[in-house]
């Protein structure tokens, strides 16, 4: 399968990329790692007139320590995140989620910012960014603005990034010492998540002090299980206590129905996956 014809630009700076996007109107697509976009182009689900490649913009790559947060450039690959010691130390949940994404070849090319801007509700980094309270830096011709995770995702493949803007970096508050687990329910290893639960937990002496839980593929965008988060505070990290708290995990969700499972099925497994994720996260 071969994509439809398009023009191609590989600008060296964010400014040049923004002017390339502005010149093409609403008919341009940005390519980051391309691991989701290229299948879309090959299957001709989309046929942009211009593809703007960000791979030559070095300033968009890498992980920077900014005191109480890590700032990750939008073009940082999954593999670079897995190779970064500071991410392991401060954002264990991100490591746990990223290591489940697709396969090694895809992780070598795929980027954090590309996946977040693509906003596939079955993607693994959206719920993770939401659980970690990430802030998204969006840059346009008039400068940058910052959008919190709960405003960034606006629907199926829809984000706060405008047609003439770029997602340039993602700021994650450090969760040093928090346990984390990404519980992913799939039929085969490199499939998209049927449902997944991103949990990060601050526990002391077996008591949960704080918990943050994101749900993947339980709606048209990543969701937070806030009622479970509240119910977990002050609980012992035991099977029974966590099961009780996780019972409301499907509350407020609107999961899709597809060949992998209908909405009712997804609502029935999400408390189970939430229990497993929280117990694993609380266990270290």
């Amino acid at each position: 399968m071969i994509p439809a014809q398009f023009d191609y630009a590989a600008p060296a700076t964010v400014e040049e990329a923004l002017s390339a996007l502005a010149s093409a109107g609403d008919d341009a697509k940005v390519i980051a790692g391309g691991q989701s976009l290229l299948p879309v182009l090959r299957m001709r689900l989309n046929a942009p007139s211009l593809v703007v490649d960000l791979s030559k913009i070095e300033s968009l790559r890498g992980v920077r320590d900014d005191g109480d947060a890590l700032v990750i450039g939008a073009m940082t690959t999954y593999q670079s995140i897995l190779d970064d010691a500071s991410v392991h130390e401060h954002l264990l949940l991100l490591v746990k989620a990223v290591e489940t994404i697709a396969d090694p070849q895809i992780r070598h090319r795929g980027t954090l910012g590309g996946a977040l801007a693509h906003a596939d509700p079955a993607g693994d980094v959206g719920a993770t960014a939401l659980a970690l309270g990430a802030q998204f830096e969006i840059t346009g011709s008039s400068g940058s603005r910052t959008v919190p995770a709960d405003e960034f995702f606006q629907g199926l493949f829809e984000t706060a990034v405008g047609e003439d803007e770029l997602l340039t970096s993602i700021r994650f508050p450090k969760h040093t010492g928090w346990g984390a687990h990404y519980e992913k329910f799939v039929r085969v290893s490199h499939q998209w998540s049927i449902v997944a639960v991103a949990a990060t937990v601050k526990a002391e002496g077996g008591t949960i002090q704080e918990a943050r839980i994101g749900l993947t593929n339980m709606g048209d965008r990543p969701l937070r299980a806030t009622s479970v988060e509240k119910a977990l505070v002050g609980q012992q990290a035991t099977e029974d206590a966590v099961r009780t708290a996780a019972a409301s995990a499907a509350e407020g969700t609107d999961p899709p129905s597809d060949l992998n499972g209908d909405a009712e099925y997804r609502r029935s497994i999400v408390p189970v996956l939430t229990r497993r994720a929280v117990l694993a996260a609380a266990g270290g």
């Binding site: 399968m1 023009d7 590989a10 691991q35 070849q105 490199h190």
Partner: protein, 159 residues
């Protein structure tokens, strides 16, 4: 058309390509490197795996223009003359291929895996090859071949 300069299996090439041309088509149709095959064409099967700047990628999921200024290694570039690469040799010794279609991608991914971890566990090998499908389902011998190439104990692996 876009002008690209790439190094493939040690040789430098400059070509005009359509931006929509996939790397795998550039390798096969322009450079004649038909050792790299197209399997599923949907970025699932891994048969088209090559190395881009030393790391494995699925060449059906990379544009040729994205390889501009970079270095590609294919299955055709890993032996030294008549002498097979140790992973190729191990695949032959362990009968790690039946129809052989997945083999170029399996070998390129196995080399990447061993570059990252020279002595992987059996589970680590299976995990590391999760992006490569074998329709003959000959996975056991593929795993043995990677273990053999890693110099690990095959007696133990056969139990």
């Amino acid at each position: 058309m876009a002008r690209i300069s790439v190094k493939v299996d040690g040789a430098s090439y400059s070509d005009d390509v359509e931006p929509r041309m996939l790397l795998v088509h550039y390798l096969r149709e322009r450079l004649g490197k038909v050792g790299t095959v197209v399997g599923c064409d949907t970025s699932n099967c891994g048969a088209c795996t090559v190395h881009l700047d030393g790391r494995s990628v699925k060449s059906c999921n990379v544009l040729a223009v994205q390889a501009d200024g970079h270095e590609v290694t294919t299955i055709e570039g890993i032996s030294s003359g008549e002498e097979l690469h140790p992973v190729q040799e191990a695949f032959r010794e362990c009968h790690a291929l039946q129809c052989g279609y997945c083999t170029p991608g399996m070998i390129m991914q196995a080399i990447d895996l061993l570059n990252e971890n020279p002595s992987p566990s059996e589970e680590g090998i299976r995990h590391g090859l999760e992006g490569n499908l074998c329709r003959c389902t000959g996975y056991h011998n593929i795993v043995k071949a990677v273990q053999k190439a890693a110099g690990s104990d095959l007696e133990g692996a056969q139990q």
